[in-house]
């Protein structure tokens, strides 16, 4: 058979660090697929539809770009949609399948978000990055007296894979751990060697640090709002590495501005990338990271390696790791 000319056009979205093409071996696809890498967010749905016109394959990095029905229906050439990670709440799989678009996922490696949750706790309580920046810019010696988390109580909302890893690390750091979620059982807590809190309210009253590890769903949207902030200790810290809308952002900003709680460590936001003029960027009592939870070299290698496999399998007529409609 004569070698076919390149017939597939593939868009790799949201590769902000410009690493996608180094994180996997794409060479086996080079004969069949022409790749275009986008290093910045594409904008609103109309901008995205325009930018992706003519691509029959699109690779998403996690949930950085939403793929609702309207967008899918605006892309008549699209045949293969690959999302990194095992699930993607921003991708309408049903709409894709109705259009005959194959939607696939990839594996992930480890639980790298656990390090961001613990890192945010340590930055809030010990100010390591802050003090390092000060020393490097010629600041004087010690300026802070930290809070040791040993002996403090960590309240985990959610005790799944990530929550239980965070629990283990916190216990090794000498913290007491209590957990609650809408469907958390005493058995699950016992197997994770964590105390089950009788209610969300009890957990919020008791915890010195509250860390969220539930998925975003209609049940968890706005789980932490004005009423919940009022229950927390004035010395408490809130850590959110799960999804922005689990916390009512207006209530969070009000609580932080009024020093109703001591501070917050956030890796996720209602709108990502966080707008340049967002009020959170102005607050002294927050530590902000730019959704780094899943951003490790190990995880990126697994994700992009999976993308290469997915494309190969699709081209061979045997697509793998199909996403199921929600």
């Amino acid at each position: 058979m004569p070698s076919a000319q390149i017939v597939h056009r593939c868009a790799i979205l949201d590769d902000y660090q410009n690493v996608a093409l180094q994180m996997a071996d794409w060479s086996g696809l080079a004969q069949d697929v022409e790749f275009t890498v986008f290093n910045a967010p594409l904008g609103g749905p109309d901008d995205i539809a325009r930018a992706l016109k003519g691509f029959d394959m699109v690779v998403l990095m996690r949930e950085r770009t939403a793929f609702p029905r309207r967008l899918i229906e605006a892309l008549p050439d699209l045949r293969l949609l690959i999302s990194t990670g095992k699930r993607n709440w921003m991708l309408d799989v049903e709409a894709a399948n109705q259009r005959g678009i194959v939607a696939c996922s990839t594996e992930t490696t480890g639980n790298p978000t656990a390090s961001i949750a613990i890192g945010l706790m340590l930055e809030l309580t010990r100010r390591i990055g802050y003090e390092s920046e000060r020393l490097k810019s010629g600041g004087a010696w010690q300026s802070t007296v930290g809070v040791d988390i040993e002996g403090k109580t960590l309240g985990l909302i959610g005790l799944g894979r990530l929550g239980s890893k965070v629990a283990k690390i916190a216990q090794a750091l000498g913290m007491k751990v209590t957990a609650w979620s809408q469907n958390l059982t005493a058995e699950r807590c016992a197997s994770a060697e964590v105390e089950l809190s009788p209610s969300k309210e009890a957990l919020l009253r008791q915890a010195d640090i509250i860390s969220l590890h539930v998925v975003l769903s209609e049940r968890t949207r706005g789980l932490i709002g004005v009423k919940e902030f009022a229950l927390m200790k004035p010395t408490a810290y809130l850590v959110n590495t799960a999804r922005g809308p689990i916390v009512d952002e207006a209530a969070l900003i009000a609580a932080l501005k009024a020093n109703r709680i001591a501070g917050a460590g956030l890796d996720v936001y209602d709108i990502e990338p966080l707008p340049s003029d967002h009020p959170l960027r102005e607050l002294g009592n927050v530590v902000l990271s730019p959704h780094l939870g899943y951003v490790t070299a190990e995880n990126f290698r697994t994700c992009y390696g999976g993308v290469v496999e997915n494309i190969r399998a699709y081209l061979d007529g045997k697509p793998i790791r199909l996403l199921q409609p929600a």
Binding site: E131, S132, V145, G146, E150, S276, R281, H291, L292, N299
Partner: protein, 322 residues
């Protein structure tokens, strides 16, 4: 009765008088708080002339024989914590100076050691500073510590705790020191490295948790840094001179190792023009290991108790040369 003159040294954060209830001794004391380092030995002697009671914060200001002998009015010297390798206890005894320690709380250095590791691998603090200065979004791809090998030098209380956290992160942990036996490593649930060289060769992150002694001074030098993986990180929250600073600077500059996280230095406070402050592949903290509110409360409350005991003729927590 004349009040006793009492100097509180090195209170950089200006918190000493708020961290404890001083009313139990306030009536007997004329207290002066120094919130900046006093300088070299002669300056210290000059500044402390006439004080009967001196309260030191950890080892920030050393009290060698020469200084103790230059302070004829000194009667009570208090250090925070129960060990201070920078005070010459024999010299104090010879001059009839009572030396007392204070309680401490927890293992707050663990949080600094782990915070340095996470800052080096995930850059939370530096990304926070970028976001707050208006940068758009992600600039780094981190390294997950899960699956990497943590090498701890030492296996005391702190090393053990740092190792436990490493295991909770699902790291492999190996340990070595001049005193560790395979049995102790096994009891701690970590792997025993047969030699320093073995530990340095296999570790992705090396963290030092031994005291500074003549045996440990310069334990990590050019040869040792040369054995480490080019991707390895070195963490020192113990004492600066355990690592040869010139060799460390050379290794970091040449990217012989990937980076370092340091809370301790040869000279503290770290001089403003120190070359470490110019390097990109280091995270530097200003000896924060012991600086927690819980620890400070225990330190300063202990200080008040030490002074009360001394004034009542019943000194407590007296430190003597071993």
């Amino acid at each position: 009765m004349a009040k006793h003159r009492c100097a509180i040294l090195d209170d950089y954060q200006s918190v000493a008088l708020n961290m404890a209830d001083w009313t139990k001794v306030a009536g007997d004391l004329d207290v002066k708080v120094f919130s900046a380092p006093l300088g070299g030995a002669e300056e210290v002697a000059g500044a402390l002339k006439g004080f009967a009671i001196v309260c030191a914060m950890r080892e920030r200001t050393p009290f060698p024989r020469q200084l103790i002998e230059a302070l004829p009015d000194l009667r009570l010297l208090i250090t925070t914590g129960m060990v201070n390798r920078a005070i010459d206890l024999d010299a104090a005894k010879a001059r009839n100076v009572v030396v007392c320690g204070t309680p401490s709380v927890g293992n707050p250095t663990t949080g600094i050691a782990w915070g340095l590791i996470l800052e080096l691998t995930r850059k939370i603090g530096s990304e926070n500073a970028r976001l707050k200065s208006g940068a758009l979004w992600q600039s780094v791809v981190g390294t997950d510590v899960e699956g990497l090998t943590l090498g701890v030098i030492g296996l005391g209380k702190l090393a053990n705790r740092v190792a436990e956290v490493g295991k909770a992160f699902r790291m492999k942990v190996v340990a070595w020191s001049q005193n560790i036996t395979p049995e102790r490593a096994q009891a701690a649930g970590v792997e025993y490295a047969a030699s320093k060289e073995d530990l340095l060769r296999v570790s992705d992150i090396v963290s030092i948790h031994i005291p500074l002694t003549p045996k440990s001074r310069g334990l990590i030098g050019a040869k040792e840094l040369g054995l480490m993986k080019p991707s390895a990180l070195l963490i020192n929250t113990s004492r600066g001179p355990i690592v040869e600073e010139a060799a460390l600077l050379a290794a970091l500059r040449a990217k012989r190792i990937a980076g370092g996280g340091f809370d301790v230095y040869d000279v503290e406070p770290l001089p403003l023009d120190h070359p470490l402050r110019k390097l990109d592949n280091v995270v530097l903290t200003p000896h924060l290991g012991y600086a927690s509110q819980q620890n400070y409360r225990a330190y300063f409350a202990g200080m008040v108790g030490d002074i009360r005991g001394f004034l009542d003729g019943k000194p407590v927590r007296v430190l003597t040369a071993s």
